[in-house]
């Protein structure tokens, strides 16, 4: 079952003056249960607006969102108790302690003190819970936001840039925390623009650019499909390139080797095509693209996506 379904989502913001802004332009997305799902995109791609639509905070101009099967605009009340979230920067009353801020939220769902203590401990704020939020660093506020999201012991966690403001040690802790939550059977939906984090943390990913999903699937598949290359070493690279071109492969010459893809073809078909014409492969390896390359290629400001 898909825990998150987004169909044809369009969101236009209409300011009092000026032209409407298209924040999301026909997004389709589905996220199945379990694991960590990365929602990747540059600033202004529409990640936060999509999350706001999912949580019923913003009304879509077109399309619809469903969370745990419930329509985000009508029947979210029945499932919201199973969803923990952070939208943009976690918001708290700065003059109150972290514990009091959590107590206010917990009170809405009848959650007791034990759960508050457990959530604070889990994010490493057990000894700072009684301090005022205005004395917290950005990273501590982020942890408090995660604690608030965990209070409900949720099936689905929707976290908007949870690693924002964290130091490297904090990022590592959050990554491990989210991975452990994902491995517990929960669905963790994380928006981020920190590519290395997404790569290390997520099982699946969707890449958003200019309000549309430009790639989605398991992280490795997206990387290979979108930016992986097959590097082929042969004695006569020019002749081999002609052979491959005739047989429908697009090959370019890079540092004395042939580079084929993306998408990466079946290596066996390449070696067979070359061997049939008398070119024997001396080197054959798959070059893994990094997520940054994929991201930049997919989100580059092109006319068409």
């Amino acid at each position: 079952m898909d825990v998150i379904e987004v169909e044809g989502l369009v969101k236009r913001y209409r300011p009092l003056r000026g032209k409407p802004t298209m924040a999301v332009a026909g997004l389709d997305l589905s996220v199945s249960a379990g694991g960590v799902f990365g929602f990747l995109g540059p600033n202004g791609a529409g990640k936060t607006t999509t999350i706001r639509c999912l949580l019923g905070l913003v009304r879509p101009s077109e399309g619809r969102c469903r969370l745990l099967g419930a329509d985000s605009q009508g029947s979210l009340g029945g499932v919201i108790g199973r969803v923990g979230s952070i939208v943009e920067a976690p918001a708290f009353f700065p003059g109150m302690s972290g514990r009091k801020n959590l107590a206010l939220l917990a009170g809405l769902d009848g959650i007791g003190r034990t759960a508050i203590d457990a959530a604070l401990e889990r994010v490493g704020l057990g000894d700072r819970g009684h301090h005022r939020v205005k004395t917290y660093s950005l990273g501590m506020k982020q942890r408090l936001g995660i604690a608030a999201a965990l209070l409900k012991d949720p099936e689905v966690l929707i976290l908007d840039e949870p690693a924002n403001g964290l130091d490297p040690a904090g990022i590592k802790e959050v990554r491990e925390l989210l991975r452990s939550l994902g491995s517990e059977g929960r669905t963790v939906f994380v928006s981020s623009h920190i590519l290395s984090e997404v790569r290390q943390m997520c099982d699946r990913v969707a890449i958003l650019a200019r309000g549309r999903c430009v790639a989605a699937g398991p992280v490795d598949d997206v990387l290979n499909r979108e930016a992986g290359r097959l590097l082929v070493g042969v004695a006569d690279v020019e002749a081999a390139r002609d052979v491959l071109s005739r047989k429908g492969f697009e090959a370019t010459l890079v540092d004395g080797r042939l580079s084929i893809g993306p998408p990466v073809p079946d290596p066996a078909s390449v070696t067979k095509a070359l061997a049939d014409e008398g070119h024997y492969v001396a080197e054959l390896r798959r070059e893994e693209a990094d997520l940054e390359t994929v991201f930049l290629e997919l989100t580059a400001d092109k006319d068409e996506v």
Binding site: Y13, R52, L55, G56, L57, V58, R59, L76, G77, I80, V83, S85, I86, V87, E88, A89, P90, A91, F92, F93, P94, G95, M96, K100, A103, L104, L105, G107, L108, D109, G110, A148, K152
Partner: protein
């Protein structure tokens, strides 16, 4: 709704501005009671001096009538007229503090309490928009109308309770002064009922002012804007309407509030006894309900960004 109300009341009580106000109010009451204590004189000599002074006013008044056999219309004698109209009440000349003046004192303290009620109602929701805490709350309970009404009710209830508490502390402090350096003469059950009614009417209008302030600030999404709108309306617009359109006076919020707080609409409305205190209260309640209703509809329909 019960949970929302409980959480919001707790948040109101936890607000620093509310606590500071409480401390300042208690300090002010203690200061005022101390001043009254030292200014109050008790004893036969002081009371006798008051009688002499009072008689002096009456004698001066009587001497002002050239023909004592022709009393003003409605009075059987010039002496009767001068006692009722020409001289201040004997109690006001008595230097000892009389607890019976508490009824009027409560009417006087109602004015700042009503203004503070408006300000606290506005800042209660204005602070939420300022700190962005509306967003996480709606991810815990997406029933916007319920959340909104819960907050408005909490602001109203908290202000009513706070106003009653302040009046009670003031009453107790002045009661102690009256017992030690003044007079509790005339403080019978009827007086107690009247005084309690005076305090309750002021507190109720302060609560309704909180609801109005809350509604304005929720639409403006800002405390300062709401306060400016509130004070411009009550301080300027209603004064202009009262002067330029006297026929509108029975429908002005401030005048109906004043009619209810004083319990004497005939003194407030230029057209005389055009409504009872109860109908004046009904008019104020109607305005508050309409304002909160419009605010709730606005809150329900707008994006939370």
């Amino acid at each position: 709704m019960t949970r929302i109300l409980a959480v919001e009341l707790r948040r109101f009580a936890w607000r620093r501005s509310f606590r500071y106000f409480g401390l300042i109010a208690i300090a002010g009451i203690l200061f005022a009671a101390t001043m009254v204590f030292f200014n109050s004189q008790r004893g036969a000599a002081a009371s006798q001096q008051a009688v002499v002074t009072h008689q002096g006013y009456i004698d001066d008044c009587v001497r002002g009538f050239p023909r004592r056999e022709q009393p003003p219309e409605g009075y059987s004698s010039v002496e009767e007229f001068c006692t009722e109209v020409g001289a201040p009440p004997l109690e006001s000349l008595d230097p000892s503090f009389r607890i019976t003046s508490l009824t009027d004192i409560f009417q006087g303290t109602s004015v700042p309490l009503i203004i503070l009620g408006l300000a606290f109602g506005a800042s209660f929701i204005g602070a939420e928009w300022h700190h962005g805490t509306i967003t996480p709350q709606l991810t815990w309970d997406p029933r916007r109308v319920m959340v909104y009404v819960g907050k408005a009710l909490a602001a109203m209830i908290a202000v009513i309770l706070a106003a009653l508490a302040i009046q009670a502390i003031l009453g107790i402090a002045l009661w102690v002064v009256a017992m030690t350096r003044g007079s509790t003469e005339g403080a019978d059950l009827a007086w107690f009922r009247e005084t309690l009614g005076s305090a309750s009417r002021g507190a109720l209008i302060a609560g309704l002012a909180a609801a109005l302030g809350f509604a304005i600030a929720s639409v403006a999404r800002n405390t300062a804007t709401a306060l400016v709108i509130g004070f411009v309306y009550f301080g300027v617009a209603e004064s202009l309407m009262r002067g330029l359109r006297p026929g509108w006076q029975p429908w002005l919020v401030g005048d109906n509030a004043a009619a209810f707080v004083t319990g004497d609409p005939g003194q407030v409305f230029m057209a005389g006894d055009i409504r009872t205190a109860a109908t004046a209260l009904a008019v104020v309640i109607a305005y508050a309900v309409v304002a909160v209703g419009l605010g709730a509809a606005w809150f329900r329909s707008r994006d939370v960004t």
